[in-house]
Symmetry: D2
Subunit: 408 residues, 4 copies
């Protein structure tokens, strides 16, 4: 056990931070305003494409894909990727620059693992090159989707095709004009065992019967130019070969993608929270109230200290989870992944909220990233499973393990 980053990780992190200092932070606010003011707000601005080219040249590309996916990706372990992902998390829109943004990361993993050669050629390669974007359609408005067995979208075999009917929402990515492909979760057999009813299937965005109904807000934000779409599927027909792996494998595929997906969110949220703390440190030193800088007030110092303690603890837990995934696999790491999924969004919400408070009205404004990252953190308390589901599973497992171990 030791707690310093490896030289390899540290070197990568230094390069990434330098890239962000040079190319990202200076245009952070400009990019936000581009999509906020642009009437074509669902079209990715040219600025993004320029930055992507720079990131490719700087060899900071597809960092998220672990060794098992080589030759795709950078072949980093989760533990190596963690601090990089955290650094990207400091600017909400920056992961895309490095082709490390959700839901593409999960979709690329799924396509790498389960896609046919044709799928890889058609969808995976342009995704890996950052040429197109993708979406993952899982959550449904009509049911509590936290219980995946509730999902109602029907995927019905009809000759050489599957026919899809259903309504999804919060399909992240599907608003973007460059989004070309969706992975859709639905049920192929409602009479099967509870976790064998679901399947996942590839649906090109331009398939007839697919309607992007509207963008959904998440705590006031549309997250342009990516967005979260409500999508209607009406007799959508795709070739049977678009089904991933086989009927009944949908739940297992979903489980597989959620481990890495969750830890990436946690890493980014730690970046968000650290950013909020850094901004707070700066602000309280500048602002004068009642005769002295805010930074001289005991209550401000207490808050700053507490924010740091909260962040550092969540960071360590996330790093340990990454290490466990690397050494023992995602299944063995299940409980610690649940743990960080509980801890990180709550921590980030608390920390960012305190930073907002220290910023005064400015903290609630569009001039600071704080309210946007708060909305992101708040949303993750629900996305990929609400806190309560993770706590239910973790709590149940801990009790079971304890009783099994017959501990003192």
């Amino acid at each position: 056990m030791h707690f310093d980053y490896s030289p390899k990780t540290q070197a990568l992190l230094d390069r990434l931070n330098q890239f962000m200092d040079e190319h990202i932070y200076p245009v952070e606010q400009e990019y936000i305003e581009l999509v906020d003011n642009n009437p074509q707000r669902w079209t990715t601005p040219a600025l993004m494409h320029e930055l992507k080219e720079k990131a490719k040249k700087a060899d900071l590309w597809n960092l998220f894909l672990p060794e098992e996916y080589l030759p795709y990706g950078a072949g980093l372990t989760n533990l190596e990727y963690a601090p990089l992902c955290e650094a990207m998390g400091r600017v909400l829109w920056s992961p895309e620059v490095f082709n490390c943004s959700a839901p593409d990361t999960g979709n690329m993993e799924v396509l790498s693992k389960y896609g046919s050669e044709a799928h890889k050629k058609q969808w995976l390669e342009p995704l890996l090159n950052g040429e197109i974007r993708s979406a993952f359609a899982m959550t449904e408005p009509a049911v509590a989707s936290s219980d995946a067995t509730n999902i109602e979208t029907a995927i019905v075999r009809d000759g050489d095709e599957y026919v899809i009917n259903g309504r999804k929402w919060y399909t992240s990515g599907a608003m973007n004009t460059n989004c070309k492909i969706m992975v859709v979760m639905g049920k192929t057999d409602t009479s099967a065992e509870r976790h064998r009813q679901q399947s996942q299937i590839l649906v090109p965005m331009d398939t007839p019967g697919v309607t992007v109904v509207r963008p959904m807000k998440a705590i006031g934000f549309y997250d342009e130019p990516i967005g979260h779409a409500e999508v209607l599927f009406e007799n959508v027909r795709v070739p049977a070969s678009n089904l991933l792996v086989g009927e009944g494998e949908g739940f297992a595929i979903a489980q597989g993608r959620l481990g890495p997906g969750r830890i990436h969110h946690c890493m980014r949220l730690i970046g968000c929270a650290q950013r909020a703390l850094d901004l707070a440190c700066e602000r309280v030193e500048q602002r004068i109230a009642f005769g002295q800088p805010l930074s001289k007030q005991q209550s401000v110092r207490e808050s700053i200290a507490q924010m740091h303690c909260d962040i550092e603890q969540a960071r360590l837990l996330t790093l340990k989870a990454a290490d466990k995934m690397d050494r023992y696999g995602n299944k063995v790491a299940r409980d610690i992944i649940a743990a960080i999924k509980i801890v990180a969004p709550n921590m980030a919400c608390r920390v960012i909220d305190q930073s907002i408070q220290m910023h005064g009205a400015a903290g609630t404004s569009q001039d600071f990233v704080l309210s946007a990252i708060y909305a992101y953190a708040r949303t993750i308390k629900l996305a990929d499973g609400p806190d309560q589901v993770h706590m239910m599973q973790l709590g149940r497992n801990l009790i079971k393990d304890h009783v099994g171990a017959n501990k003192k």
Copy 2:
């Protein structure tokens, strides 16, 4: 001491609730979409004007103005108005229907108390009739405005005029096309004693030199069609008679308006929180997860119980504050007004956040009012003085009172 509403209050509340059931709730979402989608989003929709006429006819108009302002207003005590204000708070945009919305309420009080006959004729009467709207320009981007002595906007006498220079933001109301008049806080004498430097002055929106720079977001929301503006004052000239009361009275006028303003916010926030709880009760009964309605889960019941306890306590404290203002005056009630200003927004943030969580993704969406009322509640932790300033004053006073009383 007793805890039932008076028959008069109860009757008014019943009438108001009936009005809301008939006229407000059925169009709540429609109104939100009108301003959200309207390219002229800063123009109040016709629907509002229709509703205002109905409210006038129903004799539910200007309910906020206490007895001392008669013949203006309904002559209710704060204690009588409190449950009405709470009921209006359940729908964010509804207080305007009853001509009870900030910042007009505060401005009408100020004009009633301190305005000349000419001011009353020109500004107060159309405000009382709901024909125009108004703004209050206090907070400045450049300084910690929580300490009012920091304010930098200059109001300089020049012959029969005052010349105003400065930059304000979060000037609520100033985006609206029907906003005609601003009350502006600035400094007339930076060499005077700390609380005698400030003055307040009336500035018509169309005065040359006034520029509405941009709308400010508050936790992701623009709050159309009212909005929070950044306003630039460049050599803005108004007649000297526009100064309220006299030079150096600005701080005292501000203090006077903040008491009622704060308690109204608290009442509305209690309405918001109660709404969030009501929505949660409905949701958890409907949603099925893991084989049973959410309402059967012990953790959900615990949350619901806690939300209720939090709301009910804050409500009682607010009612007691109203009663104290009525009986002993706003100055004597200073500490309990500080107390509710600390308690109510934090309570509302907690309660609404829990309701969002129980709603799942829907809770973060535009289909429910939850994220908008969360943003409102969160903003009030800063508006009219951040929590920390109220806690500083309340804590200091409590210690002083205790030492004075020489209690056991």
Copy 3:
């Protein structure tokens, strides 16, 4: 609705406070040391008997018994009694001085309501005169007694007698040498409907087969000279007439006593919390650290303010509960009684804990009452039903009421 105490209440409160200033506070610490150091620590010190005589003479006696029990007691409403009970709560051992201490209060109510004339003569009168003490044996070590249907103690009819077998603990009062009578909860019919199995029966302490096994600690405190006993019942025989009301009435009698019992605990806890805040105000003014009194620190002021807000809210909720019990009866007030039972102990724990922290090491010592009142507050989160049971019931009722009301 209004929020001032009635003149009658205020006059009583003034008299009570004067009595406490003159007779209780000056000997508060002395009394604690008497029982702490006394080898006969379960014998009530003579000082208590002297103080009781004074209280009787001052006509501050049996204040807890409401009007319906006249001619017994002072005939105060719950709302009138509340501030008195709070004032007594400021000194842990003082309620006994006024014959207002648990569990005697509950036992006296039960005996007044359900006792035969013989019971009243033998037990109620000496209790009302403060000559003897009593105990209530309900909680059992072997089962989760929060679910009263779990209780296992057997009360079996045998001719003209009942035979009792079982083991109780946390039988408050039973350690005291002056405790003469126990009310015992047990089961007379394990085949009856769940809430009709229980009965309550009078058991004199000196009945053969009753063994006081040991005193139980509550968070480190034995609460001498009253104590919480483990009591073993081995073939304990009492006359059949000792059964209260009739077989199967035990659960209903328990419910009846718990309403007033719970609100009295809450009132006392508010007194404890207010005392902790008063002590904190005094301490932070006296102690100097890092160059200034603690009272000048923003964080200390914030804590003091928050403590006050918490106390005042819980106080109002408790007063409203008292008012509701008075006007509509204990059954109708069920939900608000649950609410205060959830709110008050948690509030008191938080407030006292903050006061301990402000006192430094002294706050943890026997020189201040803080750790003892903390232990009391912490215990009440479990006694008379753990928080979770109250939250379960309150949450369930709120959801049911909401759905019934079909609210917006």
Copy 4:
């Protein structure tokens, strides 16, 4: 960076756990009752001496002393010692078995570093052999000792002697009949620079003028047979050679000892918290309420999950602090030591409190260790510097570091 214990650590931990399973847990309650019931409660029971012999034979002795102190101690790094210290922390009285209990550990470090050969011979060797015990007299009742510059005890040179006058309390260890030596902090020069006024001096317990006034309670517990004493120093004379290092070095010596002392407390508190969680897991599986084991309730699972997350995060932060002390020294690790001192006691208080709640009345009783370990955890929020002082320093340093680094 990696997160598995080293094979050496794991092997030691296995041996230690085996020892605890065999020798400690089976007599845990017996030992507590021995000192609780023993009229000579300040005399260490024979059982302790027997266990010490066993621990020596098992080569589990003086594990706390790091490599720099070799040949004294086991030469473990802080990181190696951490999980061992945690394991010992599971039973409050067990650290002494391994000669790893405060305040002896700190005193042995101080004597090793700063003691003369004569001091080492006379005091250090018997301490290292576990033959005697020692105390550290720092906190004073009259002043806020959290600010060490407040300390008033006078150490005045008089020829070849120093004369000590003052009053200390919470002098842990000084009640024990086997305590032979005290390290006393006082002032040799009140006119020197603030952090050069203090000195530390060795005072044998039997020196004339030393009076052990009384044992102090800590949240209801006397912590027999070690105890926390109030000690009076009246013209206490010791040889001038008893002064450690030199006049004015007292503050620096105190700082040196507090780093390791604080991290040891944190490690033990993590053990306490983990114990509380293990006990909770067991309890909720056994107890039936309302028709099912508590472990089936969603709210219980949520609590268990949260407790685990809290513990695991604090553990990782503490391990990282140990690693930093090992690699970079205690001074560089200053901020992370402050962080764990803030985090661990609060975490332990929360976790233990939740476990108490799950245990019902039993959780507050002497039959479970929960209330005793709660009292320990609560006390550490004050001992070795209250939370607020650590937060002040950590907050200040973080702001300073941030401004220095000019971060984004």
